[in-house]
Amino acid sequence: MDYIDKYPDELGKFGEFGGMFAPEILMPALNELTEAFNRYIHDENFIEEFERILRFYSGRPTPLYYAERYSDFIGCKVYLKREDLNHGGAHKINNVMGQALLAKKMGKKKLVAETGAGQHGFATAIAGAYFGMPTKVFMGEIDIERQAYNVYRMQILGAEVIPVKSGSRTLKDAVNEGLRFWIANLKEYHYLMGSVVGPHPYPLIVREFQRIIGKEMKVQILELEGKPPDAIIACIGGGSNAIGAFYDFIDNSNVQLIGVEAAGEGRDTNKHSIALGLGRRGVLHGAMQYLLQNEYGNIIETHSISAGLDYPGVGPEHCYLHQLNRLVVGEATDNETLEAFKNLSKLEGIIPALESSHALAYLEKNKDMFKKDDIVIINLSGSGSKDLDIIKKHMEFSIK
């Protein structure tokens, strides 16, 4: 395949997906952001500073770890890309440090972001503190309840958490409110989008800042195994950890790329977030993408045990890769995910985020797909320490 660096096109399209379906009032700001990004991404000083921050502040490169006991359990060679070991406990830091640095270069003074699970909000609060930029984070009321500790963490770092009371009061509504705020405060604020969603140039910007995951993987697996992996598995909500892990392998068609969506209580119920697998094409938050929507084009409420995957859409590039048959789309239910969460914790001493546990669950369900010597990399996008409030509802913690 000859894909890398060809998309998006000038209008921000990945095939028919993506684009700039944004209110007129935002267009000059989006165009300004595109110009600045295209300039700085080729600026050696910028790249050097970005890489320095990731190395000394976030702790990159993250290890690619051979999970021996888990491999025995699965029946193939399983490597974990330890994004959970980043500062902040997730891959989100890669993107926020890149965007905040870009914002600073553009002369923006403040940051505004949306958050679902609170991981991106937490990461943005870290960037805000690091760069001395006051930070506002919009977060759905329901998410505030189910991710209370991330709210405290953001507040400790000095960010202002603003509860979103409209719509389904989750991630999609946090994006709406964040964008509305940005519309009224374009001069001072940079909108720090948390995933490869939203209008152009966000899917491009976030991908480029997350590509570091796959670039490191490529070098690490060659060192460890002398060859590329047979498959990479990552969870997909908006899809930023997945595109980061996949991107530099897209042209190598021997590497199977598997994105796992949240099947919630099951694909036959109406409580899931299977946008790629069950969605129809539509426009939300500025981009053409696969969406969970009703026959009239109104967005329907989604569900996942992990707030980070609880989103009715999916990044436009994933839609395109799916259409090109380059991306295999899988899914895992809440229950399968919890099972995988426990398995990895007990077998490897690593508590995975519920988001990342979807990728593990897929592998556990589909272990027959892989032979003993096959190499599978799981992108362990985050740590599960943030998920304890949810976990305690599903596990017995009595001490006898």
Partner: protein
Amino acid sequence: MTDSNRILELFKNNNERRFMPFLVAGDPNMDQFIKLAKIIEPYADILEIGIPFSDPIADGPTIQEANVRAFNAGVNTKTALKAIKTIRSETEKPIVVLTYYNILIQGADTIEASLDITFKNLKENGVDGIVIGDLPIEEADLTLKACEKYNICLIFLVAPSTTEERLDKILKVGKGFIYLIAIMGVTGIRDTVAQITKDTIKRIKLKTEKVLPVFVGFGISKPEHANAIIDAGANGIIIGSAIVNIVKKNLNDHKKMELEMKDFVSSIMNAIRRVN
């Protein structure tokens, strides 16, 4: 049936200042909405009707809540169009629809075919123009085609942040009038008319004179605002949130809602006519 367009007819004749009030279809329910539309009609030059969308990112809380009330009353695109048809059967004034792109691209396998179905429907139900909250000029090609085919005016939004270069592009293809966003923000009531509004009207009018009339919306809630905006050179004013607010305030007393609505729209019309 695609021969004439009431918006274009309206502007053919004279140079009067115009008033375009806005209601969300089905707010607070379909019957009451139709009643309110009839109350407003004599005072309006153009009727603007919102087809509700679940995620209206360019709208503030007042209009979002109106969308939610409509959805809760069981409204969808189909029933909204049916209501528009009912209103059309009783007025010859132009009707403009405001909605978001995703509402328009449903019904067929391709975007193009979906737009064709939608615009055919809009025309058949008596719609003359459309404002699409999240469709900038860059993404508008297919919609422009459908609008042209069914003789519906695609009315573009212009903001204080719109550059001269973008304005030129918009003026080349926009039809009916320009919907000028008065402030940098989402829809909703503001206390005063900002200087940026007056400055933007002047800047935009320099280019639009003899090309397209300029209607100003977002934030206008009082006759004084309407006057100030007309004085600054606008050809018309658009009022949404202040009208929707009258619905919201009187959900338990429909009689009062109707009386207040009539008083309000007549006060705005009088303010505008005074200038003419």
